[in-house]
Symmetry: C2
Subunit: 368 residues, 2 copies
């Protein structure tokens, strides 16, 4: 998407330097810094420390990570045991994102079919870049399939701004292009539909106020940052027309793991008869499980992500301590929204209800 008129993605392969490059998203919106990824350790660090985040982008990064394992210093590119170890290390970088396992395995599988080192490197890069491009195309399709939902509300409101609430960042920074939750929003905006986005700030790491607000602003989309506490009140007062969020892992029965706090918004949407959509490429489905609350492991992260808040002060990015030095904090990164609270899924193949029957009817080729 455009940043100050220039095309930009959160990850790319720089053909001149033959290096994988990423935006260091930890410093946005205040600094736009590009980093090279040249080893599996750097890839793991970038995923763990959230230079890159968001399910589809983590998948793309994991896919390119397999390529990096073959070209990094001291690689043992034709040793299958080495490859498995590096792939497993990549997959362990974050426990919730389905796309990470999917992206890594997809490249590993094509590499294992090749014998020579050069063929392996070439196959890994080709396949990883295919994963990246597929994510971009999938998000574009999510935008096209989601567009009629916003168009219809716009029609009902006689063209008055459609108010969309979103949580966290499921925008292009979390993907490759368009984003998932934001894809219908960008597509509607580009089709001259009047939209306004309520951006949940999304504590603790503020991906909403830092990243979604930045993205939308750069694209010229009207938006307002709110606290994560505010959505229920806005819904009670008719100020939200539709909720659209992303997901890090969704079961084949439709339970949705997404950034902590999503469940609370789904409850409020249900209580106020507001449609609650989840936008995702099918790589985010975990076809092997049905019960999200029981079967999706929820990552617990460093409590200091809650205790310290990072922002701009005196032209530098700095962190302030909010609670008493001695007070502990707990940092569960995701929650699970039960399928019963989800109006529908917006996927690259179309929209379906949040039931196993409907999901499997849209993806009959997926193995259970």
């Amino acid at each position: 998407m455009k940043v100050d008129g220039k095309d930009m993605r959160p990850i790319w392969f720089d053909t001149a330097s033959k290096t994988v490059q990423i935006i260091d998203q930890r410093l946005l919106p205040h600094e736009l810094i590009i980093k090279d990824l040249t080893s599996v350790d750097e890839v793991i660090g970038a995923i763990k420390d959230m230079y890159v985040r968001g399910a589809p982008l983590i998948g793309a990064t994991g896919a390119l990570g397999v390529y990096i394992s073959l070209v990094q210093k001291n690689n043992r590119g034709t040793d299958n045991e080495y490859l498995e170890l590096e792939c497993n290390r990549l997959k362990d970088a974050r426990p919730t994102a389905m796309n990470l396992f999917w992206g890594v395995d997809r490249v590993r599988d094509v590499v294992l079919k090749e014998v020579s080192y050069d063929a392996r490197v070439k196959a890994a890069l080709t396949q990883a870049l295919e994963v990246v491009e597929e994510e971009a195309v999938n998000c574009q399709k999510i935008g096209e399939y989601g567009l009629p939902i916003i168009e219809e509300i716009s029609r009902q409101k006689n063209g008055k701004a459609v108010n969309i609430l979103t949580h966290c960042n499921a925008g292009w920074l979390a993907c490759v292009e368009y984003g998932t939750a934001t894809a219908p929003i960008y597509t509607a905006f580009d089709n001259h539909i009047d939209v306004h986005v309520w951006v949940d700030e999304t504590r603790p790491l503020n991906q909403g106020s830092r990243l979604t607000a930045w993205e939308l602003g750069k694209h010229g989309i009207d938006h307002t940052v709110i606290t994560d506490n505010a959505g229920g009140h806005l819904m009670q007062h008719g100020m939200v027309d539709v909720v659209i969020v992303g997901t890090d892992r969704t079961t084949r029965a439709g339970d949705v793991a997404n950034k902590i706090g999503t469940y609370l918004k789904a409850l409020a949407a249900r209580d106020n008869n507001i449609p609650f959509y989840v936008a995702l490429p099918s790589s985010t489905f975990d076809w092997s499980i049905t019960d999200g609350i029981k079967d999706i492991p929820i990552e617990e992260r460093d409590p200091d992500e809650i205790r310290y808040v990072q922002g701009l002060l005196n032209d530098k990015i700095q962190s302030v301590l909010v609670p008493p030095e001695t007070s502990p904090a707990a940092n569960h990164a995701f929650d699970v929204t039960p399928a019963r609270l989800v109006t529908g899924f917006i996927t690259e193949r179309g929209i379906c209800k949040a039931t196993q029957e409907d999901i499997m009817a849209l993806f009959p080729d997926k193995k259970i």
Copy 2:
């Protein structure tokens, strides 16, 4: 309550200097600063800028504010028109807290009965201090009436820690002693019941992580700071036994205005069959209204309270900017939890259900 072994309240009349003094709560937990209030303008500033906050404390401050109007520089203490003007200015300081109107009017009413200046000053101080002491006694009683709820859960859990979730600060800093939501917690702790409190940080002003965590820590109560997003997840996983919150205004039919985000916790509690109690002195009831969503005006505060986060950095209290400089924010300070989501009210007269019938049966002397 105790702070480092010393008795402390958030507001008091210093008999030596004949001055009303308060804790400047904006600087907690990192600095404990005492301020004098010597004019109505200072009182209004202290309420508006949240040196003092919390419904019962705002009521006590408003009551003492009427006394201050009579002793401030250039007062026209025997002029009833002046008195009404100053009282109205005090009542306009914040629009949501019922206790403010109640506290101001109570002192104004006794002042109007006196003619001489000296009698007015004396009556105002006596009545205001009575309001302050009543709030302390009311909170003590809320603690006694709320205790059996926690005792019963402790019994059911065979003495294992009772996990209580609370939102914002309805502690002694919001009241005079004990707090409202925290009163049953302090009382249980002082009765040697094992308790653990999940403290919602409560964006945007972080009264939970700054004030509730500080209070609980100073009293030695086990607690964990969480983001406002986390409560639903904890409830889904059996990690919350009961929710107790305060309120800024409650209708006689049981709709509860409280800090923004309370409604989302009530929805999650209902979805997970967890009791959701609201603790309040009867001064917080607005006997004149029934429909909280329609009839309670919700204060909108400065968006910069969301955009900037204050905390400790290099031993100084400083603020960092989180979203892009150009992104707007909206700051609704309260929301309304419908009575249907409230398990019960814990008041100074006992516990009642959140129905007009039950509330009025407990307070038959209150005029509708």
